[in-house]
Symmetry: C2
Subunit: 458 residues, 2 copies
């Protein structure tokens, strides 16, 4: 009897984590990775920095090449293999190699790591100078365009994290940016005081932010490049803004077509439903990464929260289990971080609105501390805390500050994992030295204020 | 009947925190602070940076002046009041004002915030160019000496955190530094891999580190300045090293004379014994800060761990309770951070030796990750994890790295507060963005390696 075969669909974060994890568990298992694109194992979170020109070559985002996986780990990585169908009954995967050549592969275990895709619902988004920034091919296409065309003006549709990072990248290349955000607020899920900081830094860097402005039509000559984006306040038509190119950054949705066609069930969030072993409803089929659902541990509810960190963890767990291991991934607390110009912002846990929707009775405060001692050039560090006013349980934390202070969100993230209440957090023994911090850490100042408010019934 | 009177002995971190906390609880209570020195409410942790010249004036270390406390908070701060005796039976405090004028003050509640003092046990340490760096007066004396004498060579006795920070400060002023460390290791309680980084950075900056070298005699002309330090390997006499001045940085001990003379009991650690409300054994007398004991929450044992962060917390709790509130301070997990040249180092929890002594069965691993993405100039970030091999409980964590990464110790500190085990930490949702971090945080890499070792019985 031959060795069992694991087939993995998708070779970026979740897929290659699954492959490597499976190999660590089982040295002999046959592992085949089918990837649509030409590159595998790259850090998609670095794409805005590649577009900015901080990395010279797209290959610098690649952690390991297909050759590395083949030669060093005995993993059969096949780029440019687009899977077209899964047949769970026969345990077969059908693919098109290099765009035309049909291939069929049998599997004993299957990991779906098909990723996410941009949510595009705007007329004209197929024009040649309209971009997204969700995979390496997109990034290369955009970077080539910027290098070749030297455009002077961009319209970014959506104020997601990628939209903000792209704003920074474009501005660094001397491109004037107009950002259109459908809602009245940038960065859904970010509380007002943090959002104000983001808007202030965008303003300071000359970004034209149009809120409550829904892009409706990307216009231009028939079949030609986009020359303007028309937008309105909830109504079709409206104002048009001329531009040299367009970036769509309205968010991701899970790529689930292959799964649903094969009878793999979706969860409440619309992403592929998985248990904590990353098993789908189909025997022997696992899912991980941006195509899969996860549990928000603070609310206990399934959610779709596509991020590289989660993809790597889920991929590892799926790979271990697919190779006969027994790993679990309980879920996330919802930690996110980004940089917009000099400002770092981060969040973890639930926003006030999310907390209310999940049945909590949220209360919040915001304080402004400092990133370090004044004589070390300390800068303002804004902390928002969100807790349940019934029992004082921490529900969320958000931060904005320079000097890398956004990474301090981790202390709050661990507190959320531990289901800490405000009284448990009053005297957290956080590190202090003047070059790095203040004697009362801003998080502790926030906890203290929150605790005071909570004791008075808030 | 008049208002009650709270007397606080000591007006630095713990004392002034107690005074302010008491005032917030009780707007009318009479609050008197007796401080030996001329300044109150200063950040002693900033002294090395004042000596380095990063702060122009000593006053820049002062958070609030005595006038501020008097005028804004109605707190009667009396600098240059050295308390000579406490009479608990009569609830009296005797002091000498301005070095000679006897003063007696009655109290209803008393907070002891008498601080710590350098552990000096070397002959010749009273020579005029021998310094310590534990209070503002010492700092001013040393800074004046450096500005005036422009010395070329320093001997630092002891490799405590203050010794390391002073090394950095002196080197920045062009002073050649020789450091004498009694034991075979710098920085007691720091594990080998982290210590190696510290020694490497000292070496790279030209610091002559003599380990296993106990300073015995600070020599010079009779009554004159020190011109050399004689040291040996455990034996009296030995090698002498010529120097222009000496800094003693062998650590702190609690200043407890006033307390013990008044019948206030010491704890196992030799510092003033307190419960979690910061009450001593004497009714109405509280203690806080560098004179007081605290509980190491990981081991559950009383310890002496004098730090500004703890002093502020204990002071606040003592002040609240002395004013009729009901606050508790459970203890510390032992978090410390410092910078030595470009290297940040931090620790939290127990060292391997401390864990063994506390009855655990410690195991450890060390990994080297990166502070951020390589294309953002990521630098090595070393993480040591210590856990109990019986149940996988996290016991300690230590870090060394540039870019402010030492502050990431906070995530481990919160995990210690929450008594997390390695399996609980495998998938901590820590923040990632290329400018600030790597997709697998070094702490998670360390947890993963530790978990693997632990599952295999280590």
């Amino acid at each position: 009897m031959g060795n069992e075969r694991l087939v993995i669909i998708g070779g970026v974060a979740a897929g290659m984590s699954a492959a490597s994890a499976a190999r660590r568990i089982d040295a002999r298992m046959e592992i085949v990775v089918l990837e649509r694109g030409t590159a595998v194992s790259y850090g998609a979170c670095g794409l805005p920095y590649f577009v900015a020109g901080r990395l010279e070559r797209a290959e610098d985002l690649v952690v390991h090449t297909a050759e590395f996986f083949r030669n060093e780990r005995g993993i059969d990585v096949r780029p440019e293999h687009e899977v077209t169908q899964i047949e769970p009954a026969r345990k077969l995967v059908h693919a098109l190699a290099n765009g035309s050549q049909p291939v069929t592969i049998g599997y004993d275990r299957l990991v779906l790591a098909t990723g996410g895709e941009p949510t595009i619902e705007i007329s004209g988004s197929n024009r040649p100078n309209v971009f997204t920034l969700n995979d390496l091919a997109h990034g290369v296409r955009l970077r080539d365009f910027l290098d070749r065309e030297r455009p002077l003006h961009a319209v970014i549709v959506g104020s997601s994290y990628i939209g903000l990072e792209a704003t920074d990248a474009f501005a660094g290349r001397g491109i004037e940016v107009t950002m259109l955000e459908r809602s009245t607020e940038v960065l859904a899920g970010i509380e007002p005081e943090i959002r104000d900081r983001v808007e202030a830094v965008l303003h300071a860097h000359g970004v034209a932010l149009h809120k409550h402005s829904e892009a409706c039509v990307i216009s231009g000559a028939p079949g030609g490049p986009a020359t303007a984006v028309e937008y309105g306040n909830g109504t079709r038509g409206g104002t048009g803004i001329a531009t040299d190119f367009v970036l769509l950054a309205t968010g991701l949705r899970p790529r689930t077509g292959l799964a649903t066609n094969a009878g793999v069930g979706l969860g409440q969030s619309g992403a592929i439903g998985v248990d904590e072993r990353m098993r789908t409803n189909e025997s022997g089929i696992y899912a991980a990464g941006d195509c899969a659902e996860t549990v928000q541990l603070v609310s206990g509810r399934p959610t779709y929260f596509p991020l590289g960190t989660t993809a790597n963890k889920q991929g590892r767990v799926a790979g271990e289990n697919a190779a006969g291991g027994d790993a679990k991934f309980a879920g996330i607390v919802g930690t996110l971080m980004t940089q917009v110009f000099e400002l770092g912002i981060a969040r973890t846990g639930l926003s006030v609105a999310q907390a209310r929707e999940a049945g909590f009775a949220p209360a919040q405060i915001t304080i402004t501390g400092a990133t370090r001692a004044q004589y070390f050039g300390g800068k303002p560090h804004v902390v928002t805390l969100i807790w349940d006013s019934s029992d004082g349980r921490l529900l969320g934390c958000q931060m904005a500050g320079e000097d890398g202070a956004a990474k301090r969100i981790d202390a709050a993230a661990v507190a959320l994992h531990a289901r800490m209440r405000l009284p448990d957090m009053l005297h957290l023994d956080l590190a202090y030295a003047p070059p790095f911090a203040t004697v009362w850490d801003p998080l502790l100042i926030a906890v203290h204020e929150a605790h005071k408010k909570w004791k008075h019934g808030g």
